[in-house]
Symmetry: C2
Subunit: 300 residues, 2 copies
């Protein structure tokens, strides 16, 4: 049996998968205090023992295995979790279970790479557009070390001529996260995105900023596919507008796949992360089995 | 003996190195027609036979070894060279010589990584700011496949408030290459950079654009060091201004080395490329010897 945890700032999803990689049991917890969450994780995996457990952890998290602080949460806004040695606590509590850890964005990228938009591709850039904007770059099946981290959202942009808002980022005026993450909407209008009309000007702005950033990511990283996840992308028509703005800005500079394939929301919807966490620990045969099963499912 | 060729759009440098990696003979040719150049290369390496020859080639060039057109020049503005099968011609002319090929920017990056600014670092981003702007990202000693290509210069920027020039790029308004490569200077003032005062406003603009791009490269690629090569960087004070603008825009968002180390012009000056081309083909022991000799030289 295999385990997978998608550890987010709002909730934790725990999953149990069989030897085909099929998820057969799940549990969702609120992200309470570290101790509460840990107790429930331990209880779940003691009742449902697993040989290996993959974790996609909200960040920032130290992923350098050479450091003492490997697997610690870093300066997260969630105070109770700051400097919490998540990986160490988990491995002490589940001795004999092989653990693997990566960021939430990287595992979502892995899920899409193997089971979603990345099928048949060499590389995939996963971006999450939510309360923040982070990115994970998956190359030949692995998150690229040093290139997959939450800072990717701080790429600099030029303002839309009708948008006077300088952004919410305390570090940079006009960076992507400051201009296009969820809080930028509230920052401009004191309303949340879901309360604004799909034709509200904010979507024009967000599409413009996201497209600008995608042009720059494209020329720097040359991904084969870009997947845009996160709550902000749920807004109707935003994806279409991002593609339109991208076409305007990119101007066919390089040969890319049709934009309907190149820029997409997650094929696995909200399941990219949990599947990606699972993929961190599946052995090669089980991984192949899961990919095969998922292909068959897609064809039917 | 080893050979190295730095093949640029203006001139070709040919070098011969001994079994310590020391360059003992060199020759410079103008970039005439492909056949003229090839004849001179063949004549040089027939007189000075080498076991292996590394080439840093101006681009765009096809570097995908799985393609028929590997080593072909692509849509270069130099018409006589367009679609020229450089690698194939060279390997036919020098049978028995092991060839290795990469872009001019990647080999310059390699040179700096091993023998210059990259000493002791895990990654280095080399940018050339010349008639165009291209980049090569060296990670753990190797140009990162798919991440090292001339398109990197087309990252999008916001205009400086005093600069009304939209750039020279036929594809993108306000992209780095269009706003900060050499031709942007002539495009604005009908003068060349070397004829403009070091206090001319153009250097304010260029520093602003380069710094913006460096912020975005930094958050996307997280290089340990950035080396800025190319003719435009010869302008006095430009480097200092780039660092100042970078500090303003980046706002200490991440822990970086002191900017005097983080952003530099090439340690090897105009020798990064020829040494990088050589490094493509040195065996491990010779490479170590060359690095050692270069360290000793630096200490003295």
């Amino acid at each position: 049996m295999y385990g997978a945890i998608e550890a987010g700032g709002t909730k934790f999803n725990l999953a149990l998968a069989n030897d085909r990689g099929k998820i057969i049991k799940e549990k969702t917890l609120a992200t309470g205090s570290p101790q509460e969450v840990l107790d429930q994780i331990i209880s779940f995996y003691r009742q449902n023992p697993v040989q290996a457990l993959g974790v996609g952890l909200f960040g920032p998290v130290d992923l350098d295995p050479s450091r003492e602080t490997f697997g610690y949460l870093l300066k997260t806004p969630k105070e109770a979790w700051r400097n919490y040695p998540f990986y160490k606590k988990l491995s002490q509590a589940l001795p004999g279970t092989k653990l693997a850890l990566d960021t939430d964005v990287n595992v979502a990228g892995l899920g899409e790479y193997y089971l979603g938009n990345g099928l048949g591709k060499k590389s995939l850039l996963y971006l999450t557009i939510g309360t923040g904007i982070g990115g994970g770059y998956i190359l030949k099946g692995r998150p690229l070390q040093g290139l997959s981290h939450p800072e990717m959202g701080h790429i600099l942009l030029r303002p839309h001529p009708q948008d006077s808002f300088p952004g919410t980022c305390p570090y940079h005026d006009y960076c992507l996260e400051g201009m296009a993450a969820g809080p930028s909407i509230y920052g401009r209008y004191k309303k949340f995105g879901q309360d604004l009309d799909p034709n509200h000007e904010v979507w024009t702005f967000l599409a413009y900023y996201l497209a600008q950033a995608l042009v720059s990511y494209t020329v720097v990283l040359r991904p084969d596919q870009i997947t845009l996840g996160g709550g902000v992308m749920h807004s109707p028509n935003l994806l279409t507008r991002v593609r339109e703005n991208f076409a305007d800005l990119f101007h066919n500079y390089l040969d890319l796949p049709p934009l309907e394939d190149y820029i997409k929301t997650p094929h696995l919807k909200d399941r990219s992360g949990i599947f990606g966490a699972l993929l961190l620990v599946l052995d090669e045969n089980t991984k192949k089995q899961l990919i095969l099963d998922s292909d068959l499912e897609r064809e039917n």
